[in-house]
Amino acid sequence: MAAELIAPSLAVQVRFERHAPGSSAFTLDVAFDLPAGITILFGPSGSGKSTLLDCISGLLAPDRGRISINGCALFDSAAGVNFPPQARRFAYLFQSLALFPHLTVEQNVCYGIVDLPLEEKSRRTAAILGLFRVQMLRTRKPRELSGGEKQRVALARSLVTNPRVLLLDEPLTGLESGLKFSIVEDLRVWNAANRIPILYVTHNREEVDALGERVIALEHGRVVSAGIPHEVLDAPRRARLAQAAGFENYLDARVLDLRGEDGVMRVGLGDSSTEIEVPLGYSSPGDRVRIAVRAGDILLATERPTKLSARNVLEGSLQAIEERGATVACQVQAGVPFVVHVTRGALRALQLTVGQRVWLVLKTHSCHLVED
């Protein structure tokens, strides 16, 4: 009983090798601890996130390793322990949600708690349906639900079982932000009351910022970085990871001079004469460095801006305008090519046209040094 009183913690140490014929060999080799609370698992596709979740849930048996909750092993290759998914009491929400199409919302939610006495079952079902605000949908079939409703029902079905660990594989993909964050908020409320380890896979930076207490960055089946979201994602140590975190601009640069007292250095971009100021790195004049800048962190102006705090103002010409949903990607040649994101409103207000003179504004600390 004492073990139930302290917040549970999941220890994962997994090695999984796949040599499927026809696909490239892949090795997942990770070790980390998950305390109670939300941990984001972040990484490009193919980095092994779903394989890892399958291993933790018991759907897939790792080749080697140990998975334990509060020190109690659920999988241990050395000891020959492998609990099936049914016995782990973990909840796992797939990206596809996998609601049972022939059962009603209520039957779906009850599915994992059939063994409980009737009274307890209806009490828990009603409570969780209420928490996720889907009680009025209880007699509907999944195909009669909207995207957001399906996600709420799937979450309710997973959580009604009082799982010891919650695994979420991009559960909110495809929802518009407002809806997404109202669901995220409900999950937070549930988590505040229950405090179990939650592993949440996402690509989405907004979800990371809204949910994450911790981030584990996975790449090629290995943990490359772990910590608080801001540290892991805003200062990527490796170019591939930076790409996953949404950096559209990678600039080859050479260090011109260091201004240690200001915490900055000046670099020249590519082979051009364009110079910008970036945060000070462990470099010396003459070193070659790479700099990553998000397209959304660059401001675009149609007249030369003055009296700005931002230190980098570059003159260039607008090469192309490409509308991608709510954002507009502008290609700008300013010594080196840049991609800049603006809103549709900005596109209209500035009356941007291809070939036009524009100025780019980059804050020093929006320029991230990236190691190769």
Binding site: S57, G58, L59, P84, P85, Q86, R89, F90, A91, Y92, F94, S96, A98, F100, P101, H102, Y111, G112, K141, P142, R143, R157, S158, T161
Partner: protein, 222 residues
């Protein structure tokens, strides 16, 4: 109308029997990772390509008083299987096996594996997952299997003739009876039975195709 009744009885028994036998075979085929599974698939499909006489001949040998199955039956029940209704049931079941297993296999393979995974993670064992998820979602395939097996057994001729002979009231099914009437130039009786068989077969098949139309089953997504 004794031959017609006999045919219906035979078809109903064979369809039910094959469903019981076919469900585990199809389930196993849908889930096994055994590399030799193609062997079983080939054996199941064999009756589709073999002439009924070949199958009928071997079944007659096997079911006869000197065949293995026949001897066993003789020891148990005191008579051989050849030219009996029970023998007809066994022969028809083997002959119609692909018509049960194929639709079942297709519908089992069509069930989203993520649903089975979700069921397992929610604590349901294999048995419960099979009854609560697999079977309801595969029900169009189960109905197709039942109906096709029923219709195929109803219309079978060669194997029945080889194994059952032509004993009125015991092994004379409607297809044999039609053949019998034509041989004795009783075209009116032959036409009567042929027409009934044609209409029933058409009604059965058209209702299956109508139900299997996209969204024909209330629980199918879309």
């Amino acid at each position: 109308m004794a031959p017609l009744w006999l045919s219906f009885k035979l078809a109903a028994i064979v369809a039910t029997l094959l469903l019981v036998v076919g469900l585990p075979i199809a389930y196993w085929l849908a889930h096994t990772k055994w590399h030799g599974k193609f062997l079983l698939e080939a054996i199941v499909a064999l009756p589709l390509v073999l002439p009924p006489t070949v199958l009928g001949f071997y079944l007659l040998v096997a079911l006869g008083a000197r065949g293995m199955l026949g001897k066993l039956w003789l020891a148990l029940f005191g008579h051989s299987l050849a030219f009996t209704f029970q023998g007809l049931v066994i022969a028809s079941a083997i002959y119609s096996l692909p018509f049960t297993v194929q639709p079942l296999l297709t519908s089992f393979e069509g069930v989203d594996k993520k649903l089975l995974d979700a069921s397992a993670v929610l604590g349901a064992g294999r048995w419960r997952t099979f009854w609560r998820i697999m079977l309801p979602l595969a029900s169009p395939g189960i109905i197709t299997a039942l109906v096709l097996t029923f219709a195929h057994t109803l219309g079978e001729f060669g194997v029945v003739l080889m194994v059952g002979g032509n004993l009125p009231g015991i092994t004379q099914t409607v297809s044999i009876a039609i053949y019998d009437r034509v041989q004795s130039l009783d075209y009116s009786a032959a036409n009567h039975m042929a027409l009934v068989l044609l209409l029933i077969s058409f009604a059965v098949l058209s209702s299956v195709y109508a139900l299997n139309r996209r969204g024909g089953w209330p629980w199918q997504p879309n």
